[in-house]
């Protein structure tokens, strides 16, 4: 059979896209396998702590781990824990999980495209669009989905996977594969709901159900509500409700549950941030002072054009819907997801403390938009004007290649300029070589690296304290079991930025042995830990408090070594803490030395435990 000239060009374009996609995957896998440790950040360090706790307790809900804004179980943490148990290498394990996730996304895109009867060109185009390193950094598109610990990857995949099953059912495909996909989809809904509450349901599934509701009502036949599609929707609702009940039973409230309505005065500003958030997500808007003709500027320009194309495809399909009264099913689903998410993000406050728009909330609708944009771009093969078609194909592919190329150069530049992982690897080596069981990282300037160090430290409990010795950076997405002095047996270390050294109280330094510096971090060792970050009773079996652990000092002064020394008058050298009881029989032991005693008052000093007027004395 003779192939017409125009289709020869399309075939060449498909081959070029195939090569681009293979190269893109190769780069992505390279980053996952060899640079995962270089991408550890403030948030992802908590996921590595989570992985270790899951492995240690052999439970997806380890009692020792305190989640941050979500329960983080709708991620690769379980799989990563298994691989970590097998390999002993946490970054390799996470990298392998990320590769698995990329393959899952590829499978879902191919499944959707199969239902759309899309050709290979369109399918590859959509895959390439999905895996471009758009926005990077801790909360960026790439980190959220495909590299680092990819915390949003499962929850953001769920709606398009759900749509894939819906398309199968609409096509009356009841094969074994569809049934397996259906069960997996329900499982994903359950686990994402347990982890993030209403997020996936509100941002994805609700719109898909709404679209089917509209289509069913407009079909005019109530029997259509008895179809397999509606059976699937019903099962999804049951899975969602079950997940909410389990989450409530676990006593966790995800951040998505705590939302207020946008005020009138905030609405215009929020709308602009919502709109610009789309460009931020795709990396299509620059930070301050970026030259348009430097590689960073060119990268932003390429992504800006891509973003406009994505948004343009939405406008195109809306116009098409108005004009032709009908659009492909995946387009109607996508448009409804955009409508619902746009509504939600414009009526609810979805910012955190800093007031920044959380542009990662755009990921779910933008997945649908990229599928729409890919199918629109795929129609270029239908253009009869060969010159126009060739220009569009060449220009489009050149734009994609440029966006990918500039982005990947940017990824490598950022990795090469970031020396934190080398520094933290070295710090961890010192801790391991010296058999340090607990290390305290102190000071506001070291909080981020302290949290990152938790990812590297396989054998040491890392406690991170800010300038005020508050350990919130340790427990927010972390663990609490080493906070009390009683839990810090064995050798201990203090790690601090040289600039913060002067802020450290004498009682923490009197027994400290300087060991070495790594970069701008000073490391000190202790034979016994002087640190204590928990006061009075809690659920633990044993606790130790020092005079500096929160007591009120009356007729006593704190000494350089942390002892409280009374001044020889009547009074209470240490008192207070004001805590709540914990059920059980407890033994209190005071360690002290009487340095001088008046003959007339010999034996009259006492140690007392008091509760609501009742006094136990020794």
């Amino acid at each position: 059979m003779k192939v017409k000239g125009a289709w020869k060009k399309v075939d060449v374009a498909t081959i070029v896209l195939l090569l681009v996609f293979v190269a893109q995957l190769a780069f992505l896998f390279y980053i996952c396998l060899f640079h995962t440790r270089d991408l550890v950040d403030y948030d992802s360090s908590g996921a590595y702590v989570h992985i270790r706790e899951v492995l240690r307790q052999k439970s997806l809900f380890p009692s020792t781990y305190l989640p941050a804004t979500t329960m983080d179980v709708d991620s690769t943490v379980g799989l990563a824990a298994i691989l970590y148990g097998l390999t002993g290498r946490i970054f390799l394990s996470q990298g392998l999980c990320n590769i698995f996730i990329v393959l899952c996304y590829t499978f879902v895109i191919f499944e959707i495209c199969k239902r759309l009867k899309a050709n290979l060109f369109t399918t590859l185009l959509i895959c390439i669009m999905f895996f471009i390193p758009y926005s990077r950094g801790m909360l960026g598109y790439w980190s959220m989905l495909f590299v680092n610990v990819a915390p949003n990857t499962v929850r953001d995949l769920t709606p398009i996977f759900y749509m894939s099953v819906l398309l199968d059912l609409h096509d009356k495909d009841y094969s074994v594969k569809t049934k397996i996909k259906l069960v997996i989809a329900l499982g994903l809904i359950l686990i994402t709901t347990i982890s993030t509450g209403i997020y996936v349901f509100a941002f994805g599934l609700l719109a898909l159900m709404a679209m089917d509701f509209i289509l069913t009502v407009f079909s005019g036949d109530i029997k259509n509500f008895l179809s397999s599609v509606w059976g699937f929707h019903l099962a999804a609702c049951i899975s969602f409700v079950t997940g909410m009940i389990i989450q409530k039973h676990l006593g966790f409230v995800s951040a998505a549950a705590d939302r207020t309505l946008i005020s009138t005065s905030e609405a215009p500003n929020n709308f602009m941030r919502w709109f610009m958030g789309i460009f931020e997500l795709f990396g299509g808007v620059a930070g301050a002072n970026v030259s348009a003709f430097e590689p960073i500027g060119l990268e932003v320009l390429c992504k800006c054009v891509l973003t406009w194309f994505y948004l343009g495809s939405v406008v195109f399909f809306i116009c098409s819907w108005i004009k032709e009264k009908e659009v492909p099913k995946h387009v109607s689903y996508g448009l409804m997801v955009c409508l619902v998410d746009g509504f939600v993000l414009n009526v609810l406050v979805t910012t955190y403390g800093a007031g920044t728009f959380e542009f990662r909330y755009h990921i779910i609708p933008m997945f649908f938009v990229m599928i729409m944009a890919g199918t629109l771009a795929g129609r270029v093969g239908e253009i009869t004007n060969h010159l126009l078609k060739n220009v569009l194909l060449s220009g489009g592919i050149a734009l994609l290649v440029a966006a990918i190329g500039f982005s990947e150069v940017g990824v490598m530049r950022e990795i090469n300029e970031n020396h934190d992982s080398e520094l933290l690897f070295e710090v961890n080596r010192i801790l391991v070589d010296n058999q340090i069981s607990t290390a305290v990282v102190y000071g506001e300037g070291s909080v981020i690296r302290g949290r990152q160090l938790r990812a590297f430290a396989d054998h040491t409990n890392i406690i991170v304290a800010n300038d005020e010795w508050n350990v919130a950076p340790t427990v927010w997405g972390g663990v609490t079991y080493a906070l009390d002095n009683a839990d810090q047996s064995g050798r201990c270390a203090l790690i601090t930025n040289v600039a913060d050294f002067e802020k450290i109280p004498e009682y923490y330094m009197s027994e400290a042995e300087p060991y070495s510096t790594v970069g701008d971090l000073g490391i000190f060792f202790y034979e016994e830990s002087p640190f204590d970050f928990e006061r009075a009773l809690n659920g633990k079996k044993k606790l130790i408090d020092f005079p500096y652990s929160g007591y009120t000092l009356g007729n006593a002064k704190l000494q350089e070594n942390g002892d409280a020394l009374s001044d020889g008058t009547f009074g209470y050298p240490i008192s207070g803490l004001n805590y709540q009881g914990v059920d059980g029989t407890w033994t209190y032991t005071l360690k002290y030395v009487i340095e001088k005693e008046s003959p007339g008052n010999k034996g009259n000093s006492s140690f007392e435990v008091i509760s609501n007027g009742e006094i136990w004395t020794k």
């Binding site: 803490l577 033994t587 007392e608």
Partner: protein, 46 residues
């Protein structure tokens, strides 16, 4: 009572419940006594 001959004072088997609030522990000294306080350990019995 705290004794110059000892370095530990132990209050054993305190029946504490979760209903108890405003709990505190303290040391009381008399005129002429100088005491060095090192730590307080709380341990739940098996």
């Amino acid at each position: 009572m705290l004794s110059a001959d000892k370095t530990e004072a132990v209050i054993e088997n305190l029946p504490i419940t979760s209903e108890m609030t405003d709990m505190e522990n303290r040391v009381t000294t008399q005129e002429g006594t100088i005491i060095r306080i090192k730590s307080v350990t709380m341990e739940r019995n098996e």
